[in-house]
């Protein structure tokens, strides 16, 4: 499968295109916010507190006069860093567990499979709270727990795929032509499980965004000095009866980002899976459609 082939198919499907545009836009906003935002997101301006949306403050201000648009722009940095960090950790733990569960000796393989099946029942949010109870909450705890939690999920989906590829002719041919197991893994196995893996990763990042928002809302994620959409929701909630309008924006930002990562995952799945025809073709089993991990 050529690279231009599947990126082209990704762009051609509307979920893929929508997901790609949204995710790239959020990344772009996060980068721009490093250099510029309409106001300093942390600047308190009591005279202008609870300003409505208008020419000055496009989305209005919060209870201490901070510009909500600027806060959202700064918050996108936290979102992207949590998604990327959790994604990186999920990649490492997921691939390591999957490789161990597919390639090791039989006893280890089966033990890994059972442990993965058990760990998957442990919700990411509870894992993060458990770690927070010991070391206190922080964004790092969120990144680590979502990364590990989702790594387990990736391992569960990638492991059978790895086993399947392991018994295919080209891997056998590779082994016959003298490749070491490590070379074979790198050259033949990983490229072939990559599609399944990347799709899971995209869905996992959606879970990471939701988890960051939820944990920051509960007070176990971002601290007051770190801009976060979830934390902003918690702050605005206190005045929800008086200023119900302002609470709309951070929620929309989170929803749009999560939707972006989810649709990107759907688009990637359709673009990389040759057995999935556009319409009326065989449909994937329900269990592989949505990630089982809940934020």
């Amino acid at each position: 499968m050529t690279r231009s082939g599947w990126t082209g198919r990704l762009w051609a499907s509307w979920p893929g295109r929508f997901g790609m545009i949204v995710v790239l836009a959020i990344v772009a906003i996060a980068v721009v916010s490093l250099f510029w935002s309409p106001f300093d997101p942390l600047r308190v301006d009591i005279a202008n507190r609870w300003a409505g949306p208008g020419a000055d403050h496009l989305l209005g201000t919060d209870g201490s006069g901070r510009d909500i648009l600027s806060l959202l722009m700064a918050g996108s940095r936290t979102t992207i860093w949590v998604a990327a960090g959790a994604g990186a950790i999920a990649t490492i733990t997921g691939l390591a567990l999957a490789a161990l569960g597919a390639l090791a000796v039989r006893a280890v393989r089966e033990a890994v499979a059972v442990i993965v099946d058990i760990l998957i029942a442990f919700p990411v949010l509870l894992l993060a709270m458990m770690i927070s109870a010991v070391w206190g909450g922080s964004l790092l705890v969120v990144v680590a727990s979502v990364g590990i939690g989702f790594g387990v999920n990736i391992a569960r989906v990638t492991r059978p795929e790895l086993r399947r590829v392991l018994h295919s002719d080209f891997v056998l041919a590779g082994r016959a032509s003298g490749l070491t197991p490590w070379q074979n893994l790198w050259r033949h196995l990983l490229p072939n499980v990559a599609p399944v893996f990347i799709v899971q990763l995209s869905w996992g990042m959606a879970v990471a965004v939701l988890a960051e928002a939820g944990l920051s809302y509960l007070g176990f994620g971002a601290t007051v000095t770190e801009p976060s959409w979830g934390l902003l929701l918690a702050e605005l909630q206190q005045y929800i009866t008086v200023h119900p309008g302002s609470v709309v924006w951070p929620g929309l930002a989170i929803t749009l980002t999560v939707l972006g990562f989810n649709l990107l995952g759907d688009g990637l799945r359709d673009a990389t899976d040759p057995t999935l025809s556009r319409r009326g073709g065989p449909h994937r089993a329900a269990t592989t459609h949505t990630p089982a991990v809940t934020a």
């Binding site: 059972v114 442990i115 099946d117 058990i118 760990l119 029942a121 442990f122 919700p123 990411v124 949010l125 509870l126 709270m129 458990m130 770690i131 927070s132 109870a133 010991v134 070391w135 909450g137 959606a206 939701l210 928002a213 939820g214 809302y217 509960l218 007070g219 176990f220 979830g230 929701l233 909630q237 929800i240 009866t241 119900p244 609470v247 709309v248 951070p250 929620g251 989170i254 929803t255 749009l256 999560v258 939707l259 989810n262 649709l263 319409r279 065989p282 449909h283 994937r284 089993a285 329900a286 269990t287 459609h289 949505t290 089982a292 809940t294 934020a295």
Partner: protein
């Protein structure tokens, strides 16, 4: 069947062991000196030693783990370090909020997911089917906290129909008020979880539509929809049962966040408070109860699935 049940039971026990070992390791072993952590930075050596003795921290770790698990089996979940009340008493009290909340949420989720999931599958080439599918996709992306806030804005702030927060002091002695307090929270969790569940129902229905027995029904004169309703829905129901097992975790997580948002005195809010207070003994037992619950429901769901679906029993001796 009995052989399957026993194997599955062994897996459940293994699962409970792995989960409890993970919780114990994280909360007791990793922090290093738990007594110091509980006592705080400004504590004297005597205070730390007293805590160590009271919690049995001077014992070897396997003994501590054994003491904890044996206690749990007898219904003794330890006592809170802050209030001194037995943890089991508090959990039983808070469960009176969380269990009805969970059941109501699940009901809402099913009422949304099953009919709309079937519609989304049957009418997938029509506008309404696509709208339902996309709506579910978008709703599943909504953070549950924000969904709750939006419902509060509409139903509590604007319309004034339902309370924005709180639970009656009298609890279920005032059933009408208690139920009213749970409507918005249950609606919040139910709508978001229902959207996730809807996508499973849609996939399951699509799969059922491709099955031979549904196609045969259509071939012998039923319409496609009639055949699906008569022959296909039982198999859709089976996959829904499986997914409910997965949804339990989602509902628990939802309850943790939503009880906080609506100031409901449930297990989730207690866990948030105890985590913030670093009441490690309590957090340890609460997490075991919650994950144990998820694992046990998973076990029951698998057994139920086996009992209902004759195809699964074919390999049994």
């Amino acid at each position: 069947m009995i052989r399957y049940a026993l194997t599955r039971l062994a897996l459940l026990l293994l699962g409970l062991f792995v989960a409890s070992a993970l919780i114990f390791t994280t909360l007791r072993v990793l922090p290093g000196d738990v007594a110091q952590l509980i006592a705080g930075v400004n504590s004297s050596a005597a205070q730390v030693a007293a805590i160590r003795e009271r919690l049995g921290l001077d014992q070897p770790l396997p003994v501590q783990y054994g003491t904890w698990i044996l206690g749990v089996l007898r219904g003794d979940l330890g006592t809170s370090q802050l209030t001194g009340t037995p943890v089991i008493e508090e959990i039983v009290e808070k469960a009176q909020v969380t269990i009805p909340l969970g059941l109501l949420s699940l009901t809402v989720a099913l009422l949304i997911a099953v009919p709309f999931g079937v519609i989304a599958a049957v009418r997938r080439h029509r506008v309404d089917g696509s709208i339902v599918s996309f709506g579910a996709q978008a709703l599943a992306a909504v953070p549950v906290v924000w969904a709750g806030m939006m419902l509060v804005v509409v139903f509590a702030v604007w319309l004034g129909w339902l309370p924005a927060q709180g639970f009656p002091r009298a609890g279920w002695d005032d059933p009408a008020a208690a139920l009213r307090a749970l409507i918005l929270p249950a609606l919040t969790i139910g709508v978001v979880e229902g959207a996730v569940l809807l996508r499973f129902v849609r996939s399951a229905t699509l799969q059922a539509m491709g099955q031979d027995f549904v196609r045969t029904g259509a071939a012998k004169g039923l319409t496609k929809t009639q055949s699906l309703m008569r022959h296909g829905l039982p198999s859709v129901g089976l996959s829904v049962i499986t997914v409910i097992g997965l949804q339990v975790a989602g509902i628990i997580v939802g309850a943790v966040v939503i009880e906080q948002l609506f100031s409901l005195p449930g297990i989730g809010r207690m866990l948030v408070a105890d985590t913030g207070n670093r009441d490690l003994v309590k957090v340890q037992s609460e997490l075991l109860v919650l994950t144990g619950f998820v694992l046990i429901v998973g076990f029951l769901v698998d057994l139920l699935h086996r009992v209902i679906d004759p195809r699964q029993r074919e390999g049994d001796a």
